[in-house]
């Protein structure tokens, strides 16, 4: 056999070994339609995801002032004094924690959309599981191994990472500041993001320095490998260039605020021209089981410090973006794995809960509050939790659709695997706006008797369209859908048989095209 033939024979047998020595087949399964070129999320817009790790106490962040007396019954040891709450522009019923003055200013000036009681059906109380749910974008009985933004980026850049970086996309698809890449950014086939351990790592990239190593042979080799690793990072040049070219013009960045440090470098990279569409930053410590507030003053303490950091960091970032002239292409979103319990515990803290508010900010958001204040039960027990008003995937859907402008079919087929009703975060989606939704009377539900024993009559109002009536238990878990159908315009009634239910607090919810309303009910 000729050498050439021999080599051909051997390398033919070695196939399918290609692509950096990895078998092509390993990555088979990319849907054909993904290969179709797209341009949607490549619209230059940027999403900055801010993870509040540990489960943020939504009720002490966005406080339903009209529920104050019931809150006081449930959580007096952590509740903010009523006169310290910062009411939001245009309402006296909803206000921020007093540490959030900067964010209140953002809201009041129209830079923020607040979404009330975001969660998912059948809430899970495990940090890990609930974090996985939020990051993967799954239902609570669904176990996905990829993240919602990983899938979105995979949908937009189906060939990644082969031949990346390239002229069309020279920059990372997603950049996370933090140890270990978040599930959020993992695609079905590849990790779609680059994680850098901390902000210092980016400055080291710019300066070409690495961590110091001991003066030993091992230290010598380690330094060598670290330098190669830094140069090797496919995107190090892009990041270095953007960081050198970029700038920070904001003057409000606080010191000793790790979230602000992270957001500051994000602003710098965006202003330096980095085309990365997704950034992810985080701040931890929200798992406030004990000493959430100072024993002498509920407006200070651990949670207040965290909210100060979040509020100052976000507003400094927004200020910087405005000055840098990049505000119109940047929006930010906070999320946390769950809210906390309505009733506080004896350690001046709160235990794991369910739904909580989300904040989406930026110059392009449709400012205002989406949803209503939660109804706090008057006799809240340790088992009571908030029912969700909005599924968190409605927020995701809206961001993917309205911010990144990806088509509904792609979101449904490739990203969220389900259809969700968008929210008016960016635009007047569905011709609705938040004012209508908040308007009392248009969305109406109540029941008599309440409290009840074996049954109660539910009364609601139909606009002549589709109405859903749902029942949640006190854990915020959906028990049943009482009705889901088109009703003629006018007052409607339906009977709720409750003999099968244990005594306790429940929630009744109506969802119509005009909005939704949730009321607490009690079986005795």
């Amino acid at each position: 056999m000729k050498r050439r033939d021999f080599l051909k024979a051997t390398s033919a047998t070695l196939l399918p070994i290609a692509l950096n020595g990895l078998p092509i087949n390993t990555f088979a399964g990319t849907p054909l339609l993904k290969a179709i070129a797209k341009s949607s999320s490549k619209n230059g817009r940027v999403l900055v995801l801010i993870q509040l790790n540990g489960g943020n106490d939504g009720l002490n962040t966005l406080i339903p002032i009209d529920q104050y007396s019931k809150l006081n019954t449930a959580r007096s040891n952590v509740l903010i004094k009523e006169n310290r709450i910062l009411p939001l522009e245009g309402t006296d019923k909803t206000g921020f924690h007093p540490s959030m003055l900067q964010m209140k200013n953002m809201f009041d000036h129209g830079f923020m959309s607040v979404i009330q009681d975001v969660g998912y059906p059948n809430p899970d109380f495990s940090h890990f599981r609930s974090t996985d749910i939020w990051m993967s974008g799954s239902s609570s009985d669904e176990y996905l191994k990829s993240g919602w933004l990983g899938r979105m980026l995979e949908n937009e850049y189906p060939e990644y990472p082969d031949e990346y970086p390239n002229a069309e996309m020279p920059d990372p698809l997603a950049l996370q500041i933090g140890y270990g890449l978040s599930l959020t950014l993992v695609g079905e086939h590849h990790s779609m993001g680059l994680a850098v351990s901390d902000t210092n790592y980016i400055y080291q990239m710019v300066n070409g320095t690495v961590d110091p190593a001991p003066p030993t042979p091992a230290g010598h080799e380690l330094t060598y490998i670290r330098l190669v690793a830094q140069q090797t990072e496919a995107y190090s040049v892009a990041i270095k260039n953007a960081a050198e070219k970029g700038n920070n013009l904001g003057t409000k960045y606080p010191n000793r605020n790790s979230l602000a440090d992270q957001l500051k470098i994000v602003a710098k990279l965006i202003s330096g021209g980095l085309k990365t569409p997704v950034y992810m930053v985080s701040i931890g410590g929200f798992d406030t089981h004990a000493n959430q507030v100072d024993a002498s003053d509920t407006a200070i303490g651990a949670h207040a410090n965290l909210l100060t950091q979040v509020s100052e960091a976000i507003s400094a970032f927004q200020d910087d973006c405005s000055r840098l002239g990049i505000a119109d292409k940047v929006c930010g979103m906070t999320f946390s794995e769950f809210g906390r319990r309505i009733k506080s515990n004896g350690s001046i803290g709160t235990d794991h809960g369910t739904a909580a508010p989300m904040f989406v900010f930026g110059s392009k958001v449709n400012p205002g509050i989406i949803g209503q204040n939660p109804n706090i039960p008057s006799n809240a027990t340790v088992n009571d939790n908030l029912p969700m008003q909005y599924d968190y995937r409605q927020v995701y859907w809206t961001i993917i659709k309205d911010w990144f402008q990806i088509a509904d079919t792609e979101i449904q087929n490739n990203i969220l695997f389900n259809s969700f009703t968008p929210l008016p975060i960016f635009s007047q989606t569905l011709g609705l706006n938040k004012t209508e939704e908040n308007k009392e009377g248009l969305v109406h539900i109540q029941c008599y008797p309440n409290p009840f024993t074996s049954y109660t009559m539910v009364e609601f109002y139909s606009f002549g369209g589709y109405c859903e009536i749902k029942l949640f238990d006190n854990q915020g878990k959906q028990i049943s859908t009482l009705s889901a159908q088109v009703y003629p315009k006018g007052k409607q009634n339906l009977k709720l048989d409750s003999y099968a239910y244990k005594p306790g607090n429940y929630y009744l919810q109506i969802i119509t095209a005009l909005g939704r309303k949730t009321i607490p009910i009690i079986k005795v």
Binding site: L181, T216, P217, A218, H220, L222, Y224, I225, A229, G284
Partner: protein, 569 residues
């Protein structure tokens, strides 16, 4: 392939040929960040090769295993922790010798027909390799040879076998015939802790070597100096300042070695007196002007060993050359003056005193103070097989037992290491891999922007819960299972510490450890969240519970194994 075809394959000097398609690109290996300044003057506390009698703890045990095997299982580490230093070293070198099962026919199919050897039987004893089976048997050999590393026992054997292959290098792609390669491989493995001088005598008539360095074409009328040169330059004397053989010595040695031929069917070498130069061969003053008297008839074969005995008069030069290579392979590439004086020289003298037996020398090195010096640890850059097998051993990666899939999976592993610069049994030249001889970069050659990226990508794929599963390949790693066999996996601190003992050769700061824990805890600050999750999984091993554990372990190990620290052994 008949004999004539076989002998006609190569007409020119094989070692000079470059095989662009498969060989690693050398320009990639010589990277822009190479060692500009050698770490001279770094603190080494002990250069003594006297027996180490200090503290003998997990770190020392792991160091021994890291340097003498391609990788070890957590149970190996636990097992060795119960041994004394002497017993541990003994277990590494006094292993029960056995012959591994030979490579098998994994290739028969409707399109590839082997007339003699059925599927699943070994082809190594076939009297002939038909042309259509050269490539399938070559690949079968490659898979099998890779399998020897993947399935290595916890002893020094495979590591030594690779050492000798790098020392007495042949290129499989030149030799081609799997039967020859198998024989060569078996020789290296069988003699891996044997007698060096005898190895030189045997390799000088090894059929693969005779073929690779043209020894079989070296005749009285057309002497070929190829082997004679490498015998001195690479295999024995080296090219140091104290190695002063002359060009004429190479010519004379080539004449001594004329007449050796290969029997294609028995895969044996034989001596043909009619092709041998029967004249006297006189060497230079470096060899005291010694003359090897030309012999007539079958006795001409004896001249080979006379030549080698003569070369070995320079025991000092040869032993130092070999000990430097051993040191670079097992310890560190940088040989300072102090290392030369205090380690290489006494070790070399000991090799000569031991009458060229390798085992006592390895034993002395592995028992020495210098070997366990704190600064000797963690400075060894893993070669691609240290990297891959290190992973598959530590995480107990499963390779399917299905013959065809097993062989193609092992071939895939070989393609991984090839893409990282080490194609086993195909070094770039007779000098072996540059990482073991190319000054000043040496081991750093393994790491460049291309190979480091590939190492990272490989880790991501090996860690994934699906492993590598195609119709022809099945390689699977269960990282949850890996963690299950640790001492206390429910405690995140202990889980990380024990994983580090197994995976890292150097200590990391407590800040780094906190980062690692933070990954395992998904950013939560309380350890018990992991403990709860782990215990829930232990009590109820559902797919869902396992996945929650897996997601966290994947992030942890993906991070841990991507850090530069993991490249060190």
């Amino acid at each position: 392939m008949n004999r004539r075809q076989f002998l006609n394959i190569q007409t020119q000097d094989k070692k000079k040929e470059k095989i662009v398609e498969i060989e690693p690109d050398l320009t990639q290996s010589i990277n822009p960040y190479s060692n500009k300044k050698l770490p001279d003057g770094l603190e080494i506390l002990s250069y003594s090769i006297l027996p180490y009698n200090g503290n003998w703890d997990t770190k020392h045990v792991a160091h021994l295993l890291r340097r003498t095997t391609f990788g070890f299982r957590p149970s190996d580490l636990r097992n060795f922790k119960n041994k004394s230093l002497n017993d541990a070293v003994s277990a590494i070198i006094d292993f029960v010798d056995y012959t591994p099962a030979p490579p098998l026919n994994n290739y028969s199919s409707p399109s590839v027909i082997d007339p003699n050897i059925p599927l699943g039987q070994t082809w190594v004893n076939d009297s002939f390799t038909p042309p259509n089976l050269t490539a399938p048997r070559f690949l079968s050999f490659k898979s099998w040879a890779t399998g020897q590393l993947i399935n290595q026992e916890c002893n020094i054997r495979e590591k030594m076998t690779q050492f000798w292959h790098n020392h007495f290098a042949v290129e499989a792609e030149v030799v081609q015939d799997g039967r020859f390669l198998y024989k060569y491989n078996q020789f290296l493995r069988g003699q891996c802790l044997g007698n060096f001088k005898n190895m030189v005598k045997t390799i000088s008539k090894d059929p693969s070597m005779l073929y690779y360095l043209n020894g079989y074409k070296n005749t009285k009328n057309a002497p070929d100096e190829n082997y004679a040169r490498e015998l001195m330059e690479l295999f024995t004397l080296g090219k140091g300042a104290d190695s002063n053989y002359t060009e004429d010595d190479v010519k004379q040695a080539a004449r001594v070695l004329t007449g050796w031929r290969i029997n294609i069917s028995t895969v044996e070498s034989n001596f043909q007196p009619t092709l041998h130069d029967t004249q006297n061969k006189t060497f230079s003053g470096f060899f005291n002007n010694q003359t090897i008297v030309g012999r007539i008839g079958a006795d001409g074969a004896l001249e080979k060993d006379e030549l080698i005995d003569m070369i070995f008069m320079h025991a000092d030069v040869i032993s130092k050359h070999l000990c430097r290579k051993l040191y670079r392979y097992f310890c560190y590439y940088n040989i300072t003056e102090q290392t030369e004086t205090n380690v290489i020289e006494p070790l070399a003298q000991f090799l000569v005193q031991s009458n060229w037996e390798i085992k006592p020398v390895i034993q002395k090195l592995l028992l020495s103070e210098h070997f366990y010096d704190i600064n000797s640890k963690g400075c060894y850059i893993k070669n691609p097989f240290d990297f891959v097998v290190g992973f598959t051993k530590a995480f107990q990666t499963k390779f399917t037992t299905d013959l065809a899939k097993n062989y193609s999976s092992l071939l895939l592993v070989n393609s991984f290491t090839t893409s990282q610069g080490l194609n086993y049994f195909d070094p770039p030249s007779v000098a072996g891999w540059p990482a073991y001889h190319q000054s000043p970069q040496y081991h750093q050659i393994w790491i460049n922007s291309d190979t480091l990226t590939k190492r990272k990508q490989l880790i991501e794929i090996l860690l994934s819960s699906n492993g590598i599963a195609t119709p022809t390949i099945d390689i699977k790693t269960d990282i949850v299972e890996f963690v299950s066999i640790l001492e206390n996996p429910s405690n995140p601190v202990e889980l990380i510490n024990e994983s580090l003992e197994i995976l890292y050769a150097i200590d990391i700061s407590s800040t780094k450890k906190t980062e690692l824990k933070s990954i395992l805890l998904s950013g939560q600050s309380q350890d018990f969240y992991w403990t709860d999750l782990w215990q829930t999984y232990q009590q109820n091993k559902t797919t869902e519970n396992k996945q929650m554990v897996y997601i966290r372990l994947y992030s942890l190990f993906q991070h841990l194994l991507s850090l530069p620290e993991y490249q060190l052994a």
